[in-house]
Each structure stands twice: as structure tokens, then as C-alpha cells.
Subunit: 284 residues, 2 copies
Amino acid sequence: MANVITIEDPADPRLADFRDLSTADRRPDRPGGRGLVIAEGVVVVERLLASPYPVRALLGVARRIEALADRLAPLDVPAYVATAEVMAEVVGFHLNRGVLASADRAVLPSATELAASSRRLAVLEGVGDHENLGSLFRNAAALGLDGLLLGPGCSDPLYRRSVRVSMGHVLRVPFATLDEWPGGLNMLRDKGFTIAALTPRASAVPLAEAGLGEGGAALLLGSEGPGLTEEAIEAADVVVRIPMSGQVDSLNVATAAAIAFYELGVGRNHDTSRKTDPTADAAR
Amino acid sequence: MANVITIEDPADPRLADFRDLSTADRRPDRPGGRGLVIAEGVVVVERLLASPYPVRALLGVARRIEALADRLAPLDVPAYVATAEVMAEVVGFHLNRGVLASADRAVLPSATELAASSRRLAVLEGVGDHENLGSLFRNAAALGLDGLLLGPGCSDPLYRRSVRVSMGHVLRVPFATLDEWPGGLNMLRDKGFTIAALTPRASAVPLAEAGLGEGGAALLLGSEGPGLTEEAIEAADVVVRIPMSGQVDSLNVATAAAIAFYELGVGRNHDTSRKTDPTADAAR
């Protein structure tokens, strides 16, 4: 493992990536103006090391850096070792997870490129909450979505809190922005996707009856409060809902999405009694 | 609407229920030693007012108390009106939601009573995280579970944070404690429940193939880290899993539960093509 460097002075300029971490997302000094990608904790740092994002540096207590030795062996990046006290002084708060890594942003695929290599996508509109966004990526990863498209009003998935809540899956699940809205959805339709808008409306089709697992599907998801805009709903091929018990208005958006991902992704397609498209698994 | 009382002095002893709210859960002075039930915000307060919990008092800014006027009309409880500043001084922090209500605890049903009136139950083991517990109740309410049974190691669902995260559904969805563990599960089996343990193990049966929607079902759920104990898994009739994409270990427990609730509850039973028990809906 190359470049393990012990640091004793919290003011050491080599730690600039990790300084005042709670405001690091607002730094204006990166391409795109949105700060570095920061991973926290062994599991998320491992996902960063396995990702396409160019790793810049690590900072951790000795025990955590050692735990990552195998993953660090092939990398030519500095791994700074410090005490928990020095780390706390650098980042500005006590860090339970004991290890951090920084990376530069990578070039995102275009929406068209992502669609070309995907069969199951989520398309988000107005998902501004960083925790919900992180949970959506975690759930997409677990349930076999191929990627996420970010429509208007979505937050930055590489914001530190989203990275953490996603358990690092924002670094693994491809995403792209869909700039033209809702016109950009036509591109998906042209590529053979059925566009399904998820809403709590009683007039919508129950999710299980929409046959979404059977072909390319793009699931439109809105924010937790207002939901999808009318224009997004009108642009969809089918409007679907999760049947709910009488008095309850709605689930958290990431939870509702998980149910829909289950229905259209790997969850239900393992139920061979329902599989109507024998090529579905082969295409994955 | 009875008993609207304007309060100007934050030290007014009539506001004792709401004082230092961040530590109120640890008050030793209530039956069970676990504090009052506190509801925050109009939606949750409305759910408290509609619940079996005996309401003691409300405290809110004028606008919020007015918004609840219809619900308060039939109640003989004090509704204290104060400014946001006075409220902040009483509760110890600034309260965005602008209205609170307090209630006494109610006698819980026994596990046997709850089972007798239920067809679909979740049984929790070691769910100590208050947010996960609150989310589990919210998801259970939305997806038509009849109740929750709390095995060993679970937190108090009436803790303030759980009440809030559940959106007040801990006050609506019945729950009981299952004291004998895992022996108490035999009672459920005797009442005709199929006991299904949810784990991420590859050897488990995919959820969709277990036929859980077709009869009485009790779903065993463990905590997010360690999951269910071996003894709980061995006590189950069937061990089920949510099929997941290759590299991902697991979902958040409340999210995994939501998918399972969907599969066995009202979500999938709206799919008439799969309904094999024509009495299922009639029994609800």
C-alpha cells in the first residue's frame, strides 16, 4: 500500500479536502461548483474505491486505514493517518466512522446513453430532500434498477449526506440529468420504455396490474409533499398507484419507490410463475 | 370548543406536560415509567385526538389551535394558546410544528387478543431504533397490516421520536408485547398464522413464492444490523427473502418490511389475478 502518511498537525495543508466538512458541499471551487465527493466510513469508502470517481486522498485513524489495506494496495493516492482528535479538529466535528475519502466528480453519462444501456429506470421530479435521494439510490441498487434520471428540482446526489444515506450506492448506480422536461421523456418512449407515473390517486391503476415487469420501464417519482406535477403525469403512458389502506395518505417517497422497484425489478421477476417475458433475465 | 386558555408566563405550572420536551421521554413519573404520549403537529395531533389514548392537554400557537377547532369541540380538555416564543421557552427548543398534545398511556391489548382480531401481523425482534420503529408503524398503516407484536429488544413505540416519524400511526395501529420468546410464536401458529421470517439469506424462499397473501400471516422482522436471531428463524414456518441485486447486502428494515407488507397486505391483494382466497377481502 503506497503513501501512508502520518499527520500530527490539524493545520496541515495536505488535509484541505477534509477541512470543515459540514460546509464542504458548498465549496465553489470544483468543476460544477459543487464540492468534492466525500465518502465516510469503511463500507462507503470501499464503494468509492470501486467506483469510477477519481479518488484524491483518504484520512483515517490507523485502525480504519489498515482495514482498507487490500483495497488501497493498487492505488497511488495518499492515505493520511491521524488520531481521532486531530481528525475532529480538521473536519470540525467528531466523526464516528473514523475514515474519509475524497474524490473528484466524474463526467455523467447523458440521459440518452444511460437509457440505451438500461431496461429499468427511475425518473425523479422535484426530489430535493438529500436523505430521500440517498435512500432512493440505496433502494434502486438493492432492487436491481439500472439507473436514475434526475428531472427538474432534484438535489445533487453527490452531496455528502446523500452519499452517506445511500450507503455509497450513489457512487455505483448510474445517473444522468434529464434537462428537457417533460419533453425529455419522449426519448425514453422512443427507446421502448413504458413510462409509468407513481401517484397516490385513486383513479390510478394498481401497480401489480400494470405489467411493468414485462418490458423496459421508466418509473416517474415525485417529491414527498406535492408529488408529480400535472405535466409529468400527463406525459406518462400509465398512471399507477400502490393500493393503500383506507385512512392513510401516502408512504415516504423512497419507501413507495422501493415497492415499485420490487414490482418491476429483480424482486418480482424471480417469481417464475408470473414471468411472461422469457428474455427478461437474459437481457440483464 | 371548551377550555381555550391563553398563557403568557412560560413558567405556568399548567404547562408541565410540555416542559423540557427533549427529556420528557425519560420522565419516571407515569404508569410504566415511560413518560406521556406527546403528539407534534396538526396531523399527528389529529391522530391522537382520534385515538384511544386519553388526551390531557394541548399547547399551540393560536393559528394551530384554531385549525383543530372542529376536532376539539367535543373534548373537555384544556387547549393552551401561547406565542411561539413562549412555547420555545417551555419545551426547550424552537418547535416548527406549532402545536403539541399530551395524552396518558392506554392499556395495551394482550398479544392473544391482538392475534384474535388480526389476519396480518408483523412481529419485531430487537428493533431498537426509534426512527425505524416509527417508519414500521407508518408502513404497516399504509399497507393494511392489522397490528404489530413487539418481541425482545424493541424500543417503546410511544417515544416521542417514534410517534413523529410514524406520522402518528403508532397511535392507530394496534400493538402488543410478546413476552415469551420465541415460545410466544406458538400462540400465533395455534391461531392459524403462517409465521414467516424475513432475512437476506440466499437459502430463503423469494417472498413472492411463499404464498403469504393467502391466509393469516405473521412476518418476523429483525433489527437492521444483526437481523433475526437463529432461535427466531428456527421458530418460523417459512424463511423468506426479498430477491436483491448481486452486490447489495440489505435494505433498511422499514423499507424491507414495506415490501413484505405490500406483498402480503392490501397492495398485492388488489391483483385479482393472483387472489386464490375469495374470502380474503371480505374478512378485512
